[in-house]
Subunit: 353 residues, 3 copies
Amino acid sequence: MLKRLFFPLLIVTFVLSALSHYMHWGSEIEFVLAGLAILFAAGLLGKATESVAHYAGQRIGGLLNATFGNAAELIIAIFLIKEGLFDIVKASLTGAIIGNLLLVLGASALAGGLKFKEQKFNVHLAGQNASLMLLGIIALFIPAIFVKTEKISQQETMSISIVVAAFLIFAYIGWLVYSMFTHKDLLDDHVDTQADHGESPAWSRGTSILMLIVATVMVAFISEWLVHTLDTFSARFGLSELFVGAFVVAIVGNAAEHSAAVMLALKNKMGAAVEIAVGSSLQIALFVAPVLVFVSLLFGKEMDLIFTTIELAAIGVSVLIATSISRDGATTWFEGKLLLIVYAILGVSFYFV
Amino acid sequence: MLKRLFFPLLIVTFVLSALSHYMHWGSEIEFVLAGLAILFAAGLLGKATESVAHYAGQRIGGLLNATFGNAAELIIAIFLIKEGLFDIVKASLTGAIIGNLLLVLGASALAGGLKFKEQKFNVHLAGQNASLMLLGIIALFIPAIFVKTEKISQQETMSISIVVAAFLIFAYIGWLVYSMFTHKDLLDDHVDTQADHGESPAWSRGTSILMLIVATVMVAFISEWLVHTLDTFSARFGLSELFVGAFVVAIVGNAAEHSAAVMLALKNKMGAAVEIAVGSSLQIALFVAPVLVFVSLLFGKEMDLIFTTIELAAIGVSVLIATSISRDGATTWFEGKLLLIVYAILGVSFYFV
Amino acid sequence: MLKRLFFPLLIVTFVLSALSHYMHWGSEIEFVLAGLAILFAAGLLGKATESVAHYAGQRIGGLLNATFGNAAELIIAIFLIKEGLFDIVKASLTGAIIGNLLLVLGASALAGGLKFKEQKFNVHLAGQNASLMLLGIIALFIPAIFVKTEKISQQETMSISIVVAAFLIFAYIGWLVYSMFTHKDLLDDHVDTQADHGESPAWSRGTSILMLIVATVMVAFISEWLVHTLDTFSARFGLSELFVGAFVVAIVGNAAEHSAAVMLALKNKMGAAVEIAVGSSLQIALFVAPVLVFVSLLFGKEMDLIFTTIELAAIGVSVLIATSISRDGATTWFEGKLLLIVYAILGVSFYFV
């Protein structure tokens, strides 16, 4: 029933959002409509990517998922960069990382843990993910510490950012080769995760590709409308742009992953839920963030990779607690609760900035 | 023999401490007598709590232990708050956490390790404890980093502290439900730790409750006398209040746990020793510290949860090394030595502040 | 073939380096010749230490290796201290620690991992090493945080440094007793690592001792020549002294360990390779660095143990990622690649300071 309503709802919210934008219905209503529309469009984009991936075969499909899995975030960020809103880009990247590691993983572990006593998953993958996340935070921390401590010019900062971004993409490509080709068996969860995600694809091959294009275009349009409402919205509700970027935008942009992961956890497929949550964070840190540095150069702008101290602290503690909890390859309801509490503590702290 | 002398010694030191306080025998002698008296009274309080817990049955008993296990520290801290000595409160909380994680755990592992080659304990519990301690330091670090980095008013700082304190107590309650009800079997050490601690209770049910009341009242009195000597004492010996709070007060207040844990380790019951040391730290970070924030409000004062940088550093490294050492569910003499060396390094550094 | 050329090459580079130094051929050529000569001389020193260790028996031999394994670094550092170049000493210690943990371990894991799917080693040793490295960074971080945050005089800083240095040496002695005597069996890699390193010694007992003396004297001479070229060299190529100390000197000084570890990894003896890389870092942090504090006092100079923020950050992240990767007692090519990428990120950042 809900599934059937999904597409009409997307069309309705998309049209309403377009109308509200071009006819200037007011920032609040524009923000709400764009938020609803992007929530559905991001969901469609995810479904379409999965469906195309299904027809493309396991390897190319995995690659597609790995590259376009966060396409919505990427597109939103590109529009923010075009407007020069680098601070909100970084806040939303931060929000996406901590949202996946704390909110998505926490809600999945809590929901699944209330139904099943202990939910296990591949311990090798957990360890590997931990090391990769660590690389991600090292790549963000090291340049930041150097820039904040030593006398480093803006130009040198940009040079460091570009080199580090290139290394991160290089590491991410290595990870794809490693996890999909050379060491696939070691990291497998002894379940067909491909099947877990998409079950059977909703559309034929042709429709899938069409849907992918439609969803991408829609996300692109709505992103632009959404971006324009952000500052009036945050001013109206007395929220800092940091809070809006890190919590509001990130939660809206991640809603699809969120519901998918919780559903999987409730089916006792915690391995797949972890893969969505942690995999998505890794993709943002090791792929989306560095790609955006190069995207900014294409626009003739210069977005460096230097995050603020509190963003780094938020990312750091999220990685720390998420890896501490997932390292043993098992989760329980209490561990889910812990992750959600850390998310709430970060939310409260960001709210007061 | 020593057991029989215990109660008379408590009475004698209590009376002497009272006399020295009301007759003004001088700060040094008042401090020494109050220190001795509180050492015995804290021991009695611990014994009485255990004994009452024994009669109350395993679950209510466990709850009592978990809530009143650090009653002495709590009472001392309340008197410090009444006097507005927030800095010493935080120093003594810091001292209690690092004292339990480094001194108590270290001495237990070293003493036990000199007798037994390797001492094992429940590896699940160790992992769970590590994640909980991590929550504790995150809850202390995040507000501190935000307050020290961003422009946040004292009123907002207090708001953040209250919310974070509420979340910590919420997490602690979750932990009690988790470890005593839903996942008790998973965390059990395959030994009756209840029996380990108290063996058979020393007193009848009625006497136990009487002793609990007597000990609580005594600790309350001595705490007030002790607090009054602190500043003259620290001035007299050229020690900073920070050092006195974090090392002198904490060691005196923890003496009972300390000797109990070492005794258990010498009986090769390292699991119970770890539970005392780590459990006590967790209780301070997740229960005593946040409760004190609310206690301060009752007194019409406002103690926030923002610790100093060096206190946070001390707590952070203690958690890091203690979890690194206990994570594998086994300790050796050398790991005990490592913990003690870190404690010594912290002691030396605090001494020079 | 290469082995036969080794000794003649050492003699030739040593003589050329001596000539260039005394006849002032110019900083660049002096630096290159001294670099080549010290590379060969450090290799000879390592070989001679191993050979003498072989004849001395396993225990004394292990002790010799543990004490003189980084003799070349120690000698270079002593000459730097004599010249008062404390900053370069600390940079080169930093460089040796991160070089071993990232470059040597990373190259070994990558090279070995391209040949073997997964390379396993003693998981107990990995855990123990992690705790020890943690002690090392705690000992460097704590005094630094106190000194940078609180008002602590230079004299007090020196006192803290001396006490901490003494504790580190005390911990290192404990580690030797622990790993060579009381818990040797627990940490053994089920292979004769002694044999792995040296196979059969190249020289007779007498020749070995002679070689040890010759190599020590050579390293001492070349170190002095090398030190004198450093500032003109770094000025000439626009490199900071920090970069030269942390990367150029460290790579040259570690070349012998580096090639040995990679060779072992290619023979699927990853345990021995890890022992070289991590063992060498431990030796620098827990033995060489604190010994140098006392050495500086002998020269009537005062080198404290306070490293710069970026040096501490570099050491901290190196330990974090190396322990995260080695903790499970197995490495793969991708983990090697990760370590090398972190090394490259640090290299780029230091380059721009």
